[in-house]
């Protein structure tokens, strides 16, 4: 199968243009982060995945980082390009609003994910465990305390260095977000 695919690509070299290379390079970064996160997950399977309802929670929890920090990076990039946000002036209403909103959204969505997992757990699997509500809330707070400032400073740094943060922040947020999410879930387990 692999040989057939390699032969196909060889005969269709015109497909490998700038667009193809850009998609491939960003995806490789994103996948690398996913594999690191998956390895941590595999090592701590017994502590994490065997908790009833954890697999209901996990996809949404991993996705949340990209949805919140990714959107924040995109908003900041637009503001930077428009000149509404200045990379050297960080104490502004727009930046404070963005950081505050992202953190508040993370807490609310984590709680929502916990509640959904709790209800599915109870209704479908028949397991009653309040812990599944608190784990994502604590983990969400830890992960976002790392991820939101990291996204913010990297976006400003990239812009200052003359790069377009829109091209880099997507894969950056998904790859670092996966790792911080899994580690913060483990930390939340230890705390609770």
């Amino acid at each position: 199968m692999l040989i057939i695919f390699a032969k196909y690509l060889w005969h269709n070299m015109h497909l490998i243009d700038k667009n193809f290379r850009e998609i491939l390079s960003t995806q490789l970064v994103s996948v690398a982060g996913g594999i690191i996160a998956g390895s941590v997950l595999a090592v701590y399977t017994e502590n994490l995945l065997l908790i009833p309802g954890m697999l209901i929670l996990l996809p949404g929890f991993l996705e949340m980082r990209g949805n919140i920090s990714g959107s924040m990076a995109s908003r900041l990039s637009s503001g930077l390009f428009l000149g509404v946000i200045h990379p050297n002036r960080i104490h502004t209403k727009l930046i404070r609003g963005n950081l505050l909103a992202s953190f508040a959204l993370a807490v609310v969505v984590s709680l929502m994910l916990g509640l959904i997992a709790f209800f599915f757990n109870y209704l479908v699997i028949g397991v009653y465990s309040m812990k599944i509500i608190f784990i994502p809330v604590v983990a969400g707070m830890i992960a976002n305390a790392i991820e939101i400032p990291l996204t913010f400073f990297v976006t400003l740094y990239l812009f200052r260095k003359g790069h377009d943060p829109n091209n880099i922040m997507g894969p950056f947020v998904t790859s670092t977000g996966d790792i911080t999410s899994i580690v913060s879930l483990l930390a939340a387990m230890v705390i609770l």
Partner: protein, 231 residues
């Protein structure tokens, strides 16, 4: 330049929900895109920035949470088998990211093609669409092969090596999952995008949430079905 700046400052002072002829005027006279003007007005002086962001994002995030959790529920049903195959556990976050990203790429590229009037009614005959599909599928296959290989290596390094038979099944599961979902996402983006565009709405605002939700839910569902079928 001074003239534009003063107009933009005036635009910022407008109330958020107030339409003003200014937007059209600045857009026409100074060739500033309506999106830029929208941003200037959206986060103007009368706006509570965090409240605006929360209000506009919360519904989509709630919807995405429910969809993702439904997908997770499918995997939870086959948990015992799933966690016993270490390469699949390692691959889970990577597959989740990958498919979500392809949803975003397909949506944004297709929206651009729509705006550039490069999509006819017979879209399946369109060279650009065929090319985009082949490019995304090719990248998806390359990244899937590489990530599956990495998962096997990590798994064997941690003394959880899988047999050739299991490795072959995991490899097939990953490939079928990714190719099936990229094809579904393509169809969803084209059908939904065309309908939205015909209704004179901006496809970019709808396609990304639609395709990422389909990707999230579909990935978990197809993965669960394939694991049940193969193991």
């Amino acid at each position: 330049m001074k003239d534009v700046r003063s107009k933009l400052l005036k635009l910022q002072k407008l109330k958020k929900h107030e339409y003003h002829h200014f937007i059209h005027k600045i857009h026409k006279r100074h060739n500033i895109s309506k999106r830029t003007l929208f941003y200037v007005k959206e986060y103007g002086q009368h706006t509570h920035v965090s409240r605006t962001i929360i209000k506009e994002s919360i519904k989509v995030l709630f919807f995405a949470s429910i969809i993702s959790s439904l997908g997770g529920l499918a995997i939870e049903q086959i948990k015992t088998v799933f966690v016993s195959i270490m390469p699949l556990v390692i691959l889970l976050p990577a597959l989740n990211d990958m498919i979500g990203d392809y949803g975003t790429i397909i949506s944004s590229k297709f929206s651009t093609l729509l705006y550039e009037n490069k999509v006819n009614r017979k879209w399946w005959k369109e060279g650009l669409i065929k090319r985009l599909f082949l490019q995304v599928v090719s990248v998806a296959l390359i990244t899937t092969v590489l990530s599956t290989m990495a998962a096997f290596v990590i798994s064997s390094l941690s003394k959880n090596a899988v047999s050739l038979d299991v490795a072959y099944k995991v490899f097939l599961i990953a490939i079928i999952d990714v190719v099936a979902l990229v094809s579904v996402l393509f169809l969803v983006a084209i059908l939904a995008g065309t309908i939205i565009y015909r209704k004179k709405e901006d496809p970019s605002n709808f396609l990304i949430p639609i395709t990422t939700s389909v990707a999230d839910f579909g990935n978990m569902l197809i993965l669960a079905m394939l694991v049940m079928a193969f193991f």
